[in-house]
């Protein structure tokens, strides 16, 4: 199971990112553990400056905007 964290201080784009990942995961039938990281201190711990950011299994894969659907599908495909 993939552990996905969405970094963001609670703005609309961050919520959209989470929704989009949930949708894609459901459509593809991939089990994911989705988590929100909202504390600035924790976000900075990942070295991300522009939110929303996405962390998969401990690695930052995206920062600075809602990721595209294509991109999310790629993440979930790469096992």
């Amino acid at each position: 199971m993939k552990e996905i964290k969405v970094l963001g201080t609670g703005c609309a784009s961050c919520r959209n990112t989470i929704m989009l990942i949930e949708q894609v995961a459901q459509a593809k039938g991939v089990a994911v553990k989705l988590q929100k990281v909202e504390e600035p201190r924790d976000i900075m711990g990942y070295g991300v400056m522009s939110t929303p950011g996405v962390v998969i299994d401990g690695k930052v894969v995206h920062a600075g905007g809602v990721p595209s659907r294509d991109k999310i599908e790629q993440w979930l495909a790469a096992a």
Binding site: T9, S13, E39, P40, M44, M49, S50, G64, G65, Q74
Partner: protein, 348 residues
């Protein structure tokens, strides 16, 4: 990229130059035909042109297509420019510089670096952590939301290029001077302790190798994101503006937002600070107020305080700044805006 994407969607990315030429020609043609078209539409409506409803409708139908078309074009181009100035690169440009010239640089970079107020805190910490001086960081943080392409486009569409340039110049000045003053005040002690104690981060960035096709994608993405989010505000703003145009009597605003009322500027700032809306919603209203006799300086001060200082932003900033630094930030920026308002009213 996904191989399943239809060839139709792919051609701009494969022939980016051709696409840009075709798109520019199409945009220009559309812009040229839209103005007479909306004139004709209003003329065809069964209302008297000189009646109140006629005036309001004309304002609405004339300004809506113009503003939306301009905005789409400019946001697209800015999206492409933005892709050259990621926050990481901007930080690398600013890290380790001394205050003064760096404040000017930071404020200018604020125009071209993509920025969303929800990123303000991570950006702030990222800058400070990499050794960007506090005052320089503030110059960036003040200019980025205030002087942006949406505000400038709307100002240009509704007031012409001279007011847009004036706003650009004054916005930059407020950002540069406020940041410099905050730097002089040496308030590093008023960062939250955990921010001060964070290990120093390197500002180095990797080489950026985006092709023109990918920059086009960035342009499309920002049109989707910005225009997609902002258009209801613009329609709402223009509708309110149209109402004011048609129904509020001439010179009605002059009495309490005119030049002669000295207290109008501070009042506009005080009302503007807790208000939060984006430039898109406020500017059409502002234009209508002006037409009814409000003074430009007062109106600009109101606009700047609405956009640059907002309550939600302070609440987020409280996580990294102690109260005294936030109060200083608000005080310095509000003072700058006040001065802008008075100077405008005096000069024009």
């Amino acid at each position: 990229m996904n191989a399943l994407v239809s060839p139709l969607r792919r051609w701009p990315a494969q022939q980016p130059l051709l696409f840009l030429l075709v798109a520019a020609a199409a945009w220009f043609g559309l812009y040229q035909t839209m103005m007479p078209a909306s004139e004709a539409l209003v003329a065809a409506l069964p209302v008297e042109r000189d009646s109140r409803l006629g005036g309001a409708l004309q304002f609405f139908f004339y300004d809506t297509p113009k503003v939306l078309l301009l905005l789409t074009g400019i946001v697209f181009v800015m999206g492409m420019i933005n892709s050259y100035f990621t926050p990481e690169r901007t930080r690398a440009l600013l890290a380790g510089r001394t205050e003064g010239a760096a404040n000017v640089m930071a404020a200018s970079l604020g125009i071209v670096t993509p920025f969303c107020s929800c990123s303000a805190v991570p950006l702030f910490i990222g800058f400070v952590q990499a050794g960007v001086p506090l005052g320089v960081t503030f110059s960036f943080l003040i200019s980025a939301p205030m002087v942006n392409e949406v505000a400038l486009t709307l100002l240009f569409a509704m007031f012409g290029w001279n007011v847009a340039l004036l706003y650009l110049g004054l916005g930059l000045t407020v950002a540069i001077v406020s940041g410099w003053v905050i730097g002089r005040l040496k308030m590093e002690a008023h960062l939250e302790d955990w921010v001060r104690d964070m290990p120093h981060a390197s500002a180095a960035v990797g080489e950026d190798r985006l092709g023109l096709g990918e920059r086009l994608d960035a342009g499309f993405a920002s049109v989707r994101e910005i225009v997609g989010k902002v258009w209801p505000y613009i329609l709402g703003g223009i509708a309110i503006g149209a109402g004011i145009h048609g129904y509020v009597p001439q010179d009605f605003m002059a009495s309490f937002m005119g030049k002669d009322a000295w207290w109008a500027v501070p009042l506009a700032v005080v009302i503007g600070v807790p208000m939060y809306t984006n430039a898109a919603g406020i500017i059409p209203v502002v234009q209508a107020l002006l037409a009814k006799g409000a003074a430009l300086g007062t109106v600009l001060a109101f606009m700047m305080s609405v956009i640059a200082l907002s309550l939600p932003e302070m609440i987020i900033l409280r996580k990294v700044l102690k109260v005294r630094l936030i109060a200083t930030f608000v005080g310095v920026v509000a003072t700058g805006i006040l001065i802008v308002g008075y100077v405008f009213n005096a000069v024009l």
